[in-house]
Symmetry: C2
Subunit: 332 residues, 2 copies
Amino acid sequence: MADADGGRRSPTTIYDIARELGVSPSTVSRALHKPGRTSAKTEARIRAAAEALGYRINPLARALPTGRTGTLGLILSDITNPVWFELIRGAERVTAEHGRTLVLAESQESPDLERRTAERLVPSVDGFVLVASRLPDAGIRALAASKPLVVVNRLVSGVDCLVPDVAPGLRAALDHLAAAGHRALAFLSGPAASWMSRTRWEIAFEEAPARGLSIVEIGPGAPTTAGGQAALRRVLASGASAVLAYNDLMAIGLLRACRDAGVAVPGRLSIVGFDDIFGSDFTSPPIATIRSPLGALGGDAVRRLIGARDASPPLATEFVPRGSTAPPGYGP
Amino acid sequence: MADADGGRRSPTTIYDIARELGVSPSTVSRALHKPGRTSAKTEARIRAAAEALGYRINPLARALPTGRTGTLGLILSDITNPVWFELIRGAERVTAEHGRTLVLAESQESPDLERRTAERLVPSVDGFVLVASRLPDAGIRALAASKPLVVVNRLVSGVDCLVPDVAPGLRAALDHLAAAGHRALAFLSGPAASWMSRTRWEIAFEEAPARGLSIVEIGPGAPTTAGGQAALRRVLASGASAVLAYNDLMAIGLLRACRDAGVAVPGRLSIVGFDDIFGSDFTSPPIATIRSPLGALGGDAVRRLIGARDASPPLATEFVPRGSTAPPGYGP
DNA sequence: TATGGTCTGGCAACCGATTGCCGGACCGAC
DNA sequence: GTCGGTCCGGCAATCGGTTGCCAGACCATA
């Protein structure tokens, strides 16, 4: 039996303070939130009483007349995808630092659920951060028409977007592979609808030839370990000696498939992933990867939303070399 | 330059509908939320108008007179700890299923920040889920006095608590190790303040002798890969042939230290972790672990909070055998 | 002393719902 | 025809803040 809700004292309001001190509630409100609007003496008395009575402002009551709720909505397709952990933390940190509250929602990969969730949240939030949105561009613009909104990891025209610069890390990875002697590269692409997968492919496609690397696209595939695992046969058939996987999960899946099939990594196949997710350095060999600054991205998205000065430099990616790459044919 | 907030249409209210139809706002409210209170005809007209005008209820406005905000607060010490991913997802799913909203907050391991965060959220939420709380028991009880509250993974008297049954999985793991021929076991403990670490140790201590296993505690240590890594020398010195780590992160850290030190796993040392976190099967060998039903735990905590029928059976743990255990001295 | 400005506090409307109470309309029964 | 009950809609208060407007107090200046 749960405890019968009883005995919860109702919290102190500005009316309690006003009555206690014989002033009007509006004076209390101004003393607490409009510096200089009341006399120093009154303000001090009111602050003391508020402290003594344990007063906490009720954000809901404040939100009603002002429209400022003090909460932000973070919507992503899949909460448990480790790619987003640092982003979630970054967003939460910055939100809390500014005294705001973060509500978290998951679209479970469904555009329709994403739209309904966002609409449900509209009256409760001051703005949205949309990560890996599954909505069509028009849906995102429609949402942006009702609330401030920042889109992360996707470009939508007419909307504030935050996307890391894929090129630096990717170029470094290509340099690294080319220098090791690779000549044939395969790109394992993610979901067809993924803007980020397309972008990564396009840059790799653009940059590989100049380094003497041939490149083929294999996919699209599910952006999961299963998706990576399923791609091994096509990778081997392609004759590539190195693989760029759309993300670390696919890279890990591919690595696992290699182990099961007796394909040596990095001897027969070098593997590079994207994102540097938690766990990508647990494997053996650990997965080389192109790190995205996702924690910074989450924090910056929130800062941009609440209009705080956005002093962060453009967000570059970075190649993280690890044991999963080597010259082709290297080893036993 | 951010876009100048302009041109956002204000959402439809029940007053808009009432004016449109020439009825009173109270009738609109009742038509939409008090089945049978208005005539079928009126209700149909109002529903049609609400649909046509794109009406969405404003949860904040509703919360003010009723006190029901429709949102729940989930507070945990560390958002990015992979242990909680499934729990967060479970809580979010169930929350959304019931049309509620989940706000996420992180105490960053600080009791003081945890208390302040909770207090700030009090007026905005209908209740709390506290996970791995760093508050003293009295602090938790004080919070429970102002809002309904469920504590996960810790027992606090006088408060609704949800803790998985550690014994079944742990017994199975001990059986497994004993059957493999191990005689000397070490337990790598986590933070001194962790209720769960203490509990796991106590049960292992209780159950090991009956299986012919000696057991020693090594620690306390940080519940991270670094903490596990740091413990290797003491583990080796203890003469144990098998290790039970407080959690998978420590197990992974220990495994990594073994690799660096040339200690064969599972040949020289068998390793078992706790929680079955994401990534614990990426290692080689993959880490055997005692799985906690954390997704179910998150969902159940929310269900309990909102008073939905709690039909779930008691939550048992489960041993997941993997390559990190073998008979002592096994292998090359 | 009259005038005008600044400082300070109160009054009351407002945000968008919910809900207790009232009363008119309508029904059937006696 | 009267009475009692049910059905259905409206009025107005309420939740807890915010804020535009007003007025009295006080000060300085002419």
